[in-house]
């Protein structure tokens, strides 16, 4: 497939493989950092990679939700992450023996949240932003309660190894993230589900008329998103050695930022896992740069906000001509049919 694509002209190839820009951004920023600071090495890049790994896992889920189109976004992931981190710490209480149960609990949090989100969006036709914003709030109350329960900060050693360990100098977490990228990439590019997901994201009405069960496709995306967020939250808790309120908060905008930077279309229908990987790396690299430069945390928020809006504003026009028709309101025909 790549071979054929390459044989066409380079602009068409770039248009289809928009992740290249993010990859290029990572390289350039890294090169600049290496030259200017003189101490930015491959090792420090692997540090960045570890922080990015948590983001990658969350952002892959967000990618799937964004691909479903109509501006769908999962805003509940921040609370899911925080609650999962608390849950795994409370359940394991610092011992490996509790790990299976903790895993079950964390998966339960992810699956139930995803199911509720999907139910609200598909059955009750509530816009995804509102539905996930509300479930996020409800879970936030859960974290407040969990915060009072969580006595110590015991992390199971095995989980700690997964989240923070290295094998032969390679961070385990990075391997996990890369495996996730591979799996989601395969799902998007090569499977029946991936095709259907893209179809739903481009034109839901046409997909339904072409026999795609759109509800099931969208539901799976929401399930995957909250499950991945839950797992990322558990690992993040192990990595930082505890859980605290608001620990998931930065991942809300960053997961979206990673998707957008990675060249996935915000209106859905076209996403790549590779793009999300490089988008996450780029975003984390930007944050790291600001930290190295000694900018206060407030400025980091501002810059991230501008990056997301800026990239979108630049990319928005590209898909505009094509999306225009699909974005128009339901044709008069729909209304006619009832008359």
């Amino acid at each position: 497939m790549t071979g054929k694509a390459l044989s066409l002209n380079p602009t068409a190839w770039l248009e289809r493989n928009r992740w290249v820009w993010a990859a290029l951004g990572v390289l350039v920023l890294w090169a600049i950092l290496s030259v200017t600071t003189g101490r930015f090495t491959l090792h420090s890049l692997s540090g960045v990679a570890v922080s990015a790994s948590f983001l990658v896992i969350v952002a892959l889920g967000q990618t799937l939700v964004v691909t479903t189109g109509r501006g769908n976004i999962d805003l509940s992931i921040a609370s899911v992450m925080t609650l999962s981190a608390y849950a795994s710490i409370v359940v394991t209480a610092g011992a490996d023996a509790g790990l299976p149960l903790a895993l079950l609990t964390v998966l339960g949090i992810g699956l139930v949240t995803g199911l509720v989100n999907a139910l609200l969006v598909i059955v009750f036709r509530i816009p995804a932003i509102i539905a996930t914003l509300a479930t996020g709030y409800i879970l936030a109350t859960g974290t407040l309660v969990a915060n009072r329960w969580a006595a110590g900060f015991g992390v199971s050693p095995l989980l700690k190894t997964l989240a923070a360990g290295r094998v032969e100098g390679v961070p385990v977490m990075l391997v996990i993230a890369l495996l996730a990228v591979l799996a989601v990439g395969f799902l998007l590019q090569r499977t029946v589900y991936g095709r259907r997901l893209s179809a739903v994201g481009q034109n839901e009405r046409a997909a339904a008329l072409a026999g795609v069960n759109t509800g099931r496709i969208v539901a799976c995306a929401f399930l995957a998103s909250s499950t991945l967020a839950a797992l990322a939250g558990m690992l993040l808790g192990a990595y930082v050695g505890g859980a605290f309120l608001e620990m998931g908060q930065p991942y809300l905008l960053q997961s979206l930022g990673a998707v957008v930077l990675g060249g996935s279309l915000i209106f859905g229908g076209s996403s790549t896992a590779l793009g999300t990987l490089f988008g996450s790396l780029l975003l984390v690299l930007i944050v790291t740069t600001m930290q190295i430069a000694g900018l206060p945390p407030g400025t980091q928020d501002i810059v991230q906000g501008f990056v997301v809006i800026g990239v979108l504003a630049l990319a928005g026009g590209r898909a505009r001509g094509r999306r225009g028709a699909a974005r128009a309101p339901i044709p008069a025909a729909g209304k006619v049919a009832q008359g």
Partner: protein, 849 residues
Amino acid sequence: MTAVFRTAQDAPAVAGASAHRLLDGSMTGDATGQMTPPAATAPQQDSPPVVRLAGIGKSFGPTRANHQVDLVVARGQVLGLVGGNGAGKSTLMRILCGVHRADEGTLAIDGVDIDPALFDTALAQAGGVRMVHQELSLCDNLSVAENFFLESPEAAGTRPFWRRVYRAQAKAALDAVFPDHGISVDAPVGHLQIGQRQMVEIARAVVAPRVRLIILDEPTSSLGPERSRQLRAFIRTQTARGISFIFISHKLQEVVDIADHVLVMRNGRSVWHGACADATVADLVQAMGGPTESAMRGRRAGRAAVAAGAPAIVRLSGALVAPLGHDLVLRAGEVVGLAGLEGSGQRDLLHRLHGRGDNDVRRTGTASFVSGDRQKEGVFPLWSVLSNIALGRLEGRRPLGIVSDRAERAAARAAAERLKLDPDRFDSPILDLSGGNQQKALVARALVGNAGTVLFDDPTRGVDVAAKEDFYTVIAEVARAGRLVVWHSTEDVEFLECDRVLVFSEGRIVRELAGAEITEPAIVDASFTRPGIDARPAGAAASGPAERLVELAPFASLAFVFAMMAWVNPLTVSMFGLELLLGPAIALVLVALAQMFVVGGSEIDLGVGAFAGLVNVVSATLLVDSPLLGVATLAFGVLAYGLIGATIQLRRIPAIVVTLGAAFIWIGIGYTLQPTPGGSSPPWLTAAFSWYLGEVPATLVLIAVAGLAALAIDRSPLGVVLRGFGNNAPAMTLGGWSPLRYAVIRYMIAGLFAVAAGLSLTAINTASDINAGAPFTLISVASVVMGGCALLGGLISPLGVVAGALTLALVGALLGALGVSSDYNAAVQGCLLLAMLMLRALADRRRPS
């Protein structure tokens, strides 16, 4: 010949050439005689024509929609414009209205040459050109009178009772065009029937001030014969006043009846132009090209008859076929047409056939759907032709099954060859294909699957003549292969291809025509049959009280929560209690009103809480230390809101992501200004929130003022325009309203309310915290929903939102009074919001049926 020259004097070459072609073709002989002109038909020869288009050309990608078209309309003239689907009429008219820009050619209005590059909808309106579009362009959520306002806003001025003007205008216009119309000018357009909407739309265009040329695009598609006659009578009275018309219709009899001149288009070119007196319906049909009766009949005759024992696939029964008095069985191998006036229930049946079926509509086997509305219901715009076709093969496969490029290509190739679709184009993006080829790809998608039934929804819309022919052959072939074809068309002549035609009227099948019975007159005749049942029982009347109940819900829940509160703590009912409980809610009320205006445009502001928090910080720090800088910063904040609106509108990016990004910017700025909570309230600000009007504290008065201010904006002409955009932005844009300007205005209004919210936070808390505003985002959305606004936009209710915000504030206080930890506030608010939305969804679901 001379007729062509005389009426289109300035474009001899092309018009002459096409007339030659026509003469060389089938109309030779008798046509020459007929076309010798009565020279006097063009009235007012000396005044310049109202519009003159010359050499117009327009391409959409590979499709040549218009090529070297000339068009002249004189004062007081009715020009009939005819041509099959896809002949380029709509494109030409859209160019004339400034919606599309011509690639080449010249344009003059009232004798003044206008640079086509500068011509837009506003200029067309200024030139007195009005169009009644085929897709209805009214705003459902606005009343008939308000829709009249959108067409001619000049008369509104700034007077307080501006609606009265338009109520009178609407009534007068409807009375003039359609006597005994029976339409209430205060009714929301969404409550009208399709024919009534068409009447409103026509009446609205004809009363527009300074109108000189009215383009009616299929004005009678949903009108009965009596209304159509009224319209034509009205057109005659208007032409006497010097107003010109372009009358586009499939109903050639009507065209011949009303038009002075006729322009016939085919495949984007004008193929005949002459005085109407010279043309008969048969001539026009001939000139339009496309399917002819005899060719279609011939093709049907060439098809094997449907075997009597062919398996039954669809059974229709119940109310749907009640006028027929018997059930209908559709069999494999049949081509069944669905006819009737547009919107009489044909599409509805197609969609029911595609769905799981119900008691009245039963189907065995699977069904695939091919829609003629390719943009909205057919193509996947980001995919290649191959991927678009191959989706049809996925039906019934496991989600984790692996797709193979090679297998898809082979299957698609087989289908494409039957359709004469070039397999070399498989890797092109689907949108690079012409309309006809896109449609072929969609049919190929249906063919690569194995569905026993193929449903076609007006598949030849916007397809050129040659592709149509291929298409008819394919339909025949699909049927011959043993599938059932159900075919809805808006061109009656296409039904001659069918084995059977079911004619709809008012949602019921009123006639079944088979074989030789299928003729155009028979179909038209049958479509005016009344099904004999009152198709609209109590529906319209019953919606009244139910809707009022929804409107009252926010106030009822406020009263209920207030009563609960009073029961828990009797002190609530005192003025002191009210001040204590409701006073702090003013910030929430203001944020909710800000959110309401954004929701009115069917968007959501995820940064409004953070922005209020930032204003809180700015007003407690900068505004205290250096008032000028503080005021400038706040003004800049409102401008930034306008900029957000502009970004969203210009770049067409989702408001959610932009406002979420903005939320981080607001918080970042807030942190930078003031890393830890603190600051103080400027004395004047504190004073502004701590006076009494008699017994009533300032906060309560200000809440009322805020609600009334929002109500005033909403009821003003500006508010109507904003709601119009929330409901039907494309129609507003067509009407010459600038989407950019109103997006900016909408966001700046929201920004102003959010600034007020932030200031009230400072005054009440007498300190600031950048995080103070964050929870407001969700609660503001909840208030808007509780207040009875539709999240899809266009329906807002300021007083309801105030009530909703107060209810939510009271719920928090109530929980506190009941001893529930404030930790649970967020969960309760979230659950309340979801419960409201779920109830609304359930109520909505019950309504349409």
